[in-house]
């Protein structure tokens, strides 16, 4: 008993001391994070009716394009990324280290570099793009290019999170499932997938958020054409540079901010309501 009381007291004193020391700095930083967001919301309210901006062709085109491209990106990331994530979590194979580096690289690479690399590969004069061009297939500066750029920079978020999710499910479950007559695919579908589900959803949300905010790679590899490659982040820049009213940028920013908020909320809900806590 004495021991418990003592440790509690020491901890209380310790945290109190650090509270005084760290508190002000922490408050300052929280203020720094919140002020711009409050300002954005405030300007939105202040300029009154933003509906004119929100429904302009310029904004609607960007909105539609962002929605379509980011959804396609997410779907491809899930379909192609899930098997890769599973293999990385479960199997050892030659060159695994290289694959892991390749998957992680886009996370630390500046998106503009990704854009240049994509252009050099798939552009009309690109290493691979040359052959596509001969076949009458043009990728660069099309909506397809937007999706490829988003996929390149955002899929790693899904793959990494999904891999961690699969790793958290002990392979013993699959072994036991197989002795109960389940094929490997059924064991995956009924056991591994549901248990890794929260991580998969979290990874999907992170991936989608990153795709939605993609700018650098898209700008270089896909260009900035309204209705074709001009997603919302690109539209914000264009509105700025072309001297349009700042209200247009604010309207677009508010939409993206709202989307981000919804996604964060979703992430919280999903990770909290995991089917099982292990």
């Amino acid at each position: 008993m004495a021991l418990v009381a003592e440790t509690t007291r020491t901890r209380a004193i310790g945290s109190l001391g650090l509270g005084w020391l760290f508190g002000p700095l922490a408050i300052l930083f929280v203020a720094f994070l919140s002020v711009p967001l409050i300002a954005l919301a405030w300007r939105g309210i202040e300029s009154g009716d933003l509906s004119e901006q929100m429904t302009s062709a310029f904004v609607l085109d960007a909105l539609r394009l962002s929605a379509i491209t980011s959804t396609f990106t997410l779907l491809i990331a899930i379909i192609a990324g899930t098997p890769l994530a599973y293999l990385l979590a479960r199997r050892d194979f030659p060159g695994k280290f290289i694959v892991e580096v390749l998957v992680d690289l886009p996370l630390v690479l500046p998106p503009t570099v990704a854009g240049v690399a994509l252009l050099v590969a798939f552009g009309r004069r690109g290493v691979v793009g040359e052959y596509f061009d001969d076949a009458g297939l043009n990728i660069a500066f099309t909506t397809t290019a937007v999706i490829l750029a988003q996929l390149f920079v955002s899929a790693p978020f899904y793959i990494r999170t999904a891999k961690a999710g699969f790793q958290s499910v002990t392979p013993e479950y699959e072994g036991v499932a197989s002795t109960l007559g389940a094929s490997p695919l059924r064991a995956f579908w009924r056991i591994t997938l549901p248990l890794a589900w929260p991580s998969l959803v979290a990874g999907a949300i992170l991936c989608w958020a990153r795709a939605l905010s993609e700018l650098g790679a898209t700008l270089i590899f896909a260009g900035n054409f309204q209705g074709e490659t001009q997603t919302m982040p690109l539209a914000i820049i264009s509105a700025f540079e072309s001297g349009k009213s700042i209200d247009v940028s604010i309207a677009l920013s508010l939409i993206l901010l709202a989307a981000a908020a919804v996604m964060l909320l979703l992430l919280r809900v999903v990770t909290r309501t995991a089917p099982v806590r292990m």
Partner: protein, 364 residues
Amino acid sequence: MLSIDFDLRVGDFDLQPTFESGDELVVLFGPSGCGKSLTLQAIAGLRTPDSGRIVLPGERIAFDAEARVNMAPQARGVGYVVQNLALFPHMTARQNIEFGLAHLPKARRSERTLALVDLLSLQGLEGRRPAQLSGGQQQRVALARALAAEPSLLLLDEPFSALDASLRGVLRRELASLQKRLGVTVVFVTHDLAEAYSLADRIVVYDAGRVLQQGSRADVLSRPTSRRVAELTEVRNIIPGQVDAYVEGVAAIRTPWFTARIRDPKAPIRGDVSICIRPEHILLVREGRESSHANDAVVAAEIIEDVPMGNTHRLYMRVEQPESREPLLLEVDVPAHPYDVIGVATKSHWNIALTSERCSLVSN
């Protein structure tokens, strides 16, 4: 008939088990890390041996390196309860049990599940997740799940190790009666001798990836064939000696402390041997009486420590002979009732009898 004979190498470890079993409860007994669990994984098909054969009950060849046969785990029809049970945490008890019944139509599935719930006394717990079940209940669900598809072979890897002693006893008895009722071959892994003793029809003693001895429970426990088996099965008293004579199945063994006459069909005829005798087979001889059997070796000994162990007393006794350099230390178990009746606590010098027919010989 289950027939195991294979070689499986994992890193530096070389597992080469060889044993057979009919429709009985066979216990794989041995120290931790001797390859018992690995053997189960290989039988279940989760590990592939490098060579050899695994034949499941019903003459079904699950693995044969030479004939290039390697049945997939899902085709083997083997129930397997792993050490930590691995109940699927996102499924209810009922869903766990039904997992192995996917091949049945829905009505048959419910019928079978109901029967298993009944068999293992899980009524009222069907809707609970594993985390909402007690250790013993989880254990029963795991057993029900493994039994669901009516396997011809049930593999159990230390399934009761996480439970408290009283519950372990209950589940052991249930398992033994379940095995008799279902007539299924059960391979049970444990490093706990008491568990092995209370469950086994047949014991397979493992050490360092090899089978040292196998046979009926009584045979293995009272007739170890090697010094290592005697040590592993906690014989406690392993007394070095020499064979003096061997006449008509009875060996005369001379030790520095006494001479014993032992009838042992497997007796080595000559040379250095050790007498193995369990603490419960050494008896205190009451004053003025003689040992009941002429063959029993009787020696004078002194109690140097008396440790109460619940319903028995373990006596640490010293045998001294003027001509031998060091004393012999023996462990003797005396049940609580005779302990009181003959008044063991009242004096420290006793004659003790080494029950001849309970002695066995191993070569040194």
